[in-house]
Symmetry: C2
Amino acid sequence: MKLVCLGFSGGELEDNYWQELDDLADQRVLVASEAELGKNTNADGLLVKLGAKVPKELIDKLPNLKYIGMLGTGYGGIDTAYATSKGITVTNIADYATEGVAEFTFGILIEWCRGVSRALGLAWDGVYEDDHHPGMEIKGKRFGVIGLGNIGMRTAELAQAFGCEVSYWSRTRKPEAETKGIKYQGLDDLLANSDIITLNLALNPETEGIINADRIKKIKTNDTIFINPSPMELIDFKALVTRLKQNDMVFMLDHSDEMTEEQLKELKLIPRCKIYPAIGYTTREAGQLKKRIYVDNLKNYLDGKPSNKVN
Amino acid sequence: MKLVCLGFSGGELEDNYWQELDDLADQRVLVASEAELGKNTNADGLLVKLGAKVPKELIDKLPNLKYIGMLGTGYGGIDTAYATSKGITVTNIADYATEGVAEFTFGILIEWCRGVSRALGLAWDGVYEDDHHPGMEIKGKRFGVIGLGNIGMRTAELAQAFGCEVSYWSRTRKPEAETKGIKYQGLDDLLANSDIITLNLALNPETEGIINADRIKKIKTNDTIFINPSPMELIDFKALVTRLKQNDMVFMLDHSDEMTEEQLKELKLIPRCKIYPAIGYTTREAGQLKKRIYVDNLKNYLDGKPSNKVN
């Protein structure tokens, strides 16, 4: 197999992973961009990074192509339908950041409930007691998880460990979760009845805008905390801003690149909206696991037992 | 019963609790300080706040005294031995802040592991991705709890829920914890073998300075995180500072009033030492529970079934 790593400079993987790829492939070439493909259009395998575009036109340039490996979960830039029609296997990396995102969710939740960063500042200024410091316990709160995939399920488990009353909504019922005491609620009911809500859905045509204007109105007005570590396209942005301006709920997001500068500016002006960078999934452990799976996906494909195939 | 609330201004309890106390006592008097006791030396009951001093001399001034109620856990200012000799019941309030302290422990742990407050600042500055941001997962780490009372046990349970390998040391073995998979280790071994350590001991003559110079040296040098939500007198301060200056471990404390200005200044200069105000136990929920128990302690005493009696 001739492997072309498109958009790679070499620093993306540690030496041991490059070595393993070299052991799997006959030839391995790093190519910075499509324009520099040159004679490498005879590639059998193509490795790409998150955000890469692999449209029909690029696939047509590579007549021998049999495998596309995405170093990430999202593969929206790859024309998978066309790849499928050409018999090309496309793989991605799922479930490498479950712990990272779930732990971060509780980190930013406790940051809000206890004012952790404010407290650091107080102590730095020599203030070691403060009657006005926020202090809400998680225990005993009604915790609603929207979407019970890997991250949603782990979030629900941790919420149970913290002593919350946990509910979920998911397109399909999850009996194994329900036997653990995670109760099913309709989406509208869950929004109306929860003190803390996390949104853990994948973005697709059915889920885009699922948290619509009507549903946003259902979120109760008593300082509900809504945490979104998922794409913002799941939410009707205009309706969200209108609601947040009422100052009767808290909204926190783990922002990746799906929002415009204008939207970010608008959210920044809202006191009870906290914007975090896209760091929920960027732990050392997740980074290593992701690379491990990346190399294993290629190995498994070559062994005839493809893993994380998305088409 | 004539109840004297010494050092109280009236704002310490909500109206409903004052009403309950009035229903329990024949007379209730708020006295700002001992100097203003005046004719109230005929008190049968004395209610005091955290930090109050009730030495032999004050007890001798109140010949009818039968009950002293402390609004807090620590009662070091009360001469309990002398109170006992006079047949006076002393009560305190234990186990009202277990959740608050345990949740705060994980809040400041995730703050360190994920740089939550740094992340808020980055996003505010428009930086939504950062390769240098810290990202350590809690899952899979060796978590050592020193002292398995209420707070230590709850901390250990949460650490297990986060997927840690949890060990404890306590003066007495706790079989019920061991059946849950919380392993016993000698104190020196626990210090040497843990990635994350929490100190959850009460301060008394046997525990004062228990984390001594030899033991501090045993803490492994690979960025161990040591969290102390307990009194700093448990630790040899000089030896701690010497170790922290090596910059090979992290130390976080929830500071109450046991340290000198000089000591605080010294700790502030150490980059991997994070000082928090004493807010681990100051949640709304804990505040309410504490007042509930305070009133109930008096009620139970009057009913002949004293609760939280410490002498």
